[in-house]
């Protein structure tokens, strides 16, 4: 652990000290349970508010990109919009189709939100802010994430609506296809860090070259490739545009959510946003150095502030991508996953193996190391891209003679 002046800075210690202060009022025997409870409440509160204002930020950023202001009537500049939305969702009638499977229909959003929230337990939000420091934390994260797919199937099946079922199957196919590039992009990070614990992975990215160049995984050839693959796969895993076919209104009404109304609908959206935040948090942890500062002299800013800043920038990138790209069709989606991302991720594994084996090379050979790694990533990317988009050139428009 990086002990020293940074650990004992007041702002850095503040959350943990607050928790210990509150636990001090509780008898000794119940203290671990109280600690866990306070941690859970804190995570829920922070990410609940983040979810609420993320919906507002999304609408306003999308609006500004589309030359309009976004919601600006509820409260000054629209800051009360999430609460207005919450009240609307809560007061809507909860309709359950008569032929629907009531238990599964009720359980699906609950299970989805539960597993999405459970993934936050292993993410290191700060130097001492990990809910559970598991040895196999990354595996736990993906296990919980895989369980959310079941809930989508349950939603589609329980609605007793053939379109909802079809959409649920398509959503499932999309999710399991993109799990493979997601996991394969994460394997190089684990190889280099030598541990599955997220806190350990963050600590393995500590330090700076000359005090300004951080050792984040993003600034290595394999890390850059891995991060790009991870970003695309995370977009697909959280059903975000351009991979939001499962919930596109123009395609299948609302896909597996068709028969849901009111608060259950809100729960589905909450689960989608929580999943997005969780995957972005993991991306920050694995590739962007987690709670580490980018320069040595900026380390006085508390670690959780850096984590929050990086998480918010990744979320803004997601919103930016949503505003820019059109939706992918199902077959285009699958092609991208299986024919493009998976081979590149496998090649990335080879590159990282080469990188690890040549770690001890002397200074001038380091240039060779970088050049070889970069070429092994860029050349296959370009070639594969060319091959896969071979017949799909720019469209030739033939107009009628005027």
């Amino acid at each position: 652990m990086n002990a020293g002046p940074l650990d004992s800075a007041f702002l850095e210690r503040a959350p943990v000290q607050l928790r210990d202060l509150l636990c001090g009022y509780v008898p000794e025997a119940v203290r671990p349970a109280a600690e866990a409870l306070i941690t859970m409440v804190a995570v829920l509160a922070v990410f609940g508010l983040l979810f609420a204002y993320l919906t507002l930020a999304e609408r306003k950023i999308l609006g500004r990109i589309q030359n309009r202001p976004g919601p600006n009537r509820t409260g000054p500049r629209g800051v009360l919009q999430p609460f207005a939305d919450a009240i609307k969702m809560l007061t809507k009638e909860d309709i359950v189709p008569r032929a629907a499977d009531r238990l599964l229909h009720f359980l699906a959003p609950v299970v989805l939100v539960a597993f999405s929230l459970v993934t936050f337990a292993v993410i290191p939000f700060g130097r001492q802010l990990v809910a559970i420091d598991l040895d196999a934390g990354v595996l736990y994260f993906f296990a919980a994430g895989a369980s959310t797919e079941l809930a989508i199937f349950m939603a589609g099946w329980a609605s007793n609506n053939k379109y909802a079922l079809l959409a649920a199957m398509r959503a499932l196919a999309q999710l399991i296809s993109y799990e493979l590039p997601l996991l394969l992009a994460v394997v190089p990070v684990i190889m280099v860090a030598g541990t599955l614990s997220p806190q350990g992975i963050v600590l393995a990215q500590a330090g700076w070259n000359f005090g300004v160049l951080p050792h984040w995984n993003l600034f290595t050839p394999w890390g850059l490739a891995g991060f790009c693959i991870f970003l695309v796969a995370a977009l697909a895993e959280s059903n975000r545009s351009p991979f939001d076919l499962p919930e596109a209104e123009s395609e299948l009404i609302a896909g597996h959510l068709t028969e849901y109304s009111g608060f259950k609908y809100a729960l589905f959206f909450m689960a989608e946003y929580f999943g997005m935040c969780a995957l972005n948090s993991l991306g920050v942890t694995l590739f962007l150095g987690g709670w580490q500062a980018p320069c040595a002299f900026l380390s006085f800013i508390p670690s959780y502030a850096w984590f929050g800043l990086k998480l918010l920038s990744l979320l803004v990138v997601f919103i930016w991508i949503r505003a820019t790209l059109p939706r992918l069709r199902m077959d285009q989606l699958m092609r991208l996953a299986w024919k493009f991302l998976v081979p590149l991720a496998l090649l990335n594994l080879g590159v990282v193996a080469f990188w690890q084996l040549t770690a001890g090379w002397s200074a001038p050979l380091q240039l060779v190391r970088w050049a070889a790694s970069l070429s092994f990533i860029i050349v296959p990317f370009v070639l594969l891209g060319r091959k896969l988009s071979a017949g799909l050139g720019p469209r030739v428009y033939r107009y009628a003679a005027s």
């Binding site: 040895d135 196999a136 595996l139 993906f142 797919e149 349950m154 199957m169 399991i176 541990t195």
Partner: protein, 171 residues
């Protein structure tokens, strides 16, 4: 016996038994998922974190999908099969075979000496697991990997091969 262990064991057995009794195949599949989660809970109770998460990831994340796709994409039997068996001999055969299997397994379980209660299990970290896997069973692990890759590529090739199957299916 430990209270947590008995709760987990009851959950496993109850969900497995309920899964065997239900009519709707999708409900059966979902109850099996609960069984697998309960088995993962058992692994966690026993201190094997890696195996527990691997169990969830593989069973609830992948095998459940396979089961559900298989259930939904294949034609289903009529939803209310009759409760009375076709032939009384079948009941006798079922009971005797089932009883024989249960008896053998019960005998084997009861005859196995349990470890003394005070012995703590080994705390195995993921790193040690990895080193073990790359030690003596290395050849087996590599062969399994090759087989899985071959199966994956074969499945992709079969799925991607164009159509004589389609015409046969539609006739």
């Amino acid at each position: 016996m430990n209270f947590a262990f008995s709760v987990i064991a009851f959950l496993i057995l109850a969900t497995a038994a309920a899964a065997m009794c239900l009519r709707q195949l999708v409900h059966v599949a979902l109850l099996l998922v609960v069984t697998w989660f309960a088995i993962a809970a058992f692994y966690l109770w026993a201190g094997a974190e890696f195996v527990a998460f691997a169990q969830i990831l593989i069973y609830a994340g992948a095998i459940s999908m396979v089961v559900l796709f298989a259930v939904l994409l294949t034609r289903q039997a009529p939803l209310s099969p009759s409760l009375t068996p076709a032939h009384p001999g079948r009941v006798v055969a079922a009971l005797s075979l089932g009883g024989a299997v249960a008896g053998t397994m019960g005998y084997a379980i009861l005859r196995t000496p349990l470890a003394p209660a005070s012995a703590a299990g080994p705390v195995v970290s993921v790193r040690e697991l990895g080193m073990e896997l790359m030690g003596s069973p290395l050849a087996a692990v590599l062969i399994v990997g090759v087989i899985l890759t071959a199966a994956l590529i074969g499945a992709v090739v079969i799925a991607a091969s164009p159509g004589t199957t389609k015409e046969e299916e539609s006739s």
